[in-house]
């Protein structure tokens, strides 16, 4: 996002949902444990993968800028590219 002084027009508040999950080739022992627990309840579970959801509220000029800002958050901090991937969903509040 541009510094405040360089922005034009009114800002809208956006809610970005960043879903982080282990890459397909990374084993997910938490998911495996949950799968075992679900099976113990009698549920026929083939596979479980876990992840986390991070919800961020912030102001941006438009949806494109909001998406770019949320993607940058994912790249810089929220996901570790060695082991994780993430998807971003953005909506105006």
């Amino acid at each position: 996002m541009l510094p405040e002084a360089h922005r034009e027009g009114p800002l809208t508040t956006y809610v970005a949902t960043i879903r982080v999950r282990p890459k397909a080739e990374i084993r997910d022992p938490q998911g495996e444990a949950i799968a075992g627990a679900l099976r113990s309840l009698g549920t026929d579970v083939a596979d479980v993968r876990t992840g986390k959801e991070i919800v961020v509220r912030f102001a941006a000029a438009d949806e494109g800028a909001a998406h770019a800002a949320a993607t940058s958050m994912g790249d810089q901090l929220l996901a570790n590219p060695v082991i994780e991937e993430f998807v971003v969903q953005v909506a105006a509040e």
Binding site: P22, R27, P29, Q76, L77, N80, V82, I83
Partner: protein, 236 residues
């Protein structure tokens, strides 16, 4: 030799490291991460703990501290840097070391003694120690080192694997692997060999009083002082 020992919110092994460093004649100084300046130091330690409560990922939040930029600068200039446990996780998150540390395969927190084979003498912490089997304590829930196949092959080929979990005779068996780590890897170095990370705690096994002294070998390799003849702190 002046050694900076970094302290982040949630670091817990900085005093142990500072103490152990005095046993090999180093002059340790504990530095707060937010304004850490590594100029004038000969080496740096990133100790274990649970920085920022392990929130997000172990070491992830510490890795964007001002200290991370300072560690990158010092590493590029060739400064010897050692990260243990959470310090290893932080150095991987910063990108100074290859791979990442994830949840132990069995999901258990492991607090135990392990044997390690020292695999490389290309680092200032293992010079002349290659081939030795040492015994050190571990205490972690996220110590399973992973990397993609290309990175693993490169790390193995370059001699960047520094410590491997083994049995007492040096066999890297699945039973000797406490967390499911890839290829029994317990510690790695950067390409230059000056930055080293390991899950075990050398600072917790540097005196007979603590049940072992093998950790002192790693610190002594750094300072070149094997034994100062100093009495343990408890009887001083």
């Amino acid at each position: 030799m002046k050694v900076a020992v970094l302290r982040f919110p949630g670091t817990w092994s900085e005093n142990d490291f500072a103490h152990a460093l005095t046993l090999v004649d180093a002059e340790p100084e504990i530095l707060w991460h937010a304004d850490a300046d590594l100029h004038g130091y000969d080496a740096a330690i990133v100790p274990g703990g649970f920085t920022y409560g392990d929130y997000l990922r172990a070491g992830a939040i510490a890795a964007i501290s001002p200290a991370a930029a300072e560690l990158k600068r010092a590493a590029a200039e060739g400064m010897p840097i050692l990260g243990s446990c959470n310090g290893f996780q932080i150095l991987c998150e910063i990108g100074l070391l290859p791979g990442a540390l994830v949840r132990n395969r069995h999901l258990e927190f492991r607090c135990d003694w392990v044997h390690l084979r020292i695999e490389s003498d290309r680092t200032p912490f293992t010079a002349e120690l290659v081939g030795q089997i040492v015994r050190m304590p571990i205490a972690h829930g996220e110590g399973c080192w992973v990397a993609d196949e290309l990175t693993l092959a490169r790390v193995e080929a370059n001699g960047q694997v520094v410590f491997r979990y083994t049995d007492a005779r040096g066999g890297a068996t699945p039973e000797a692997n406490p967390n499911g780590s890839t290829a029994n890897i317990a510690g790695v170095a950067n390409e230059g060999g000056n930055v080293v990370g390991l899950m075990p705690h050398p600072e917790r096994c540097s005196e007979e009083l603590l049940g072992g002294t093998d950790g002192r070998l790693v610190l002594a390799a750094l300072t070149g002082v094997r034994h100062t003849g100093r009495a343990p702190a408890s009887v001083q």
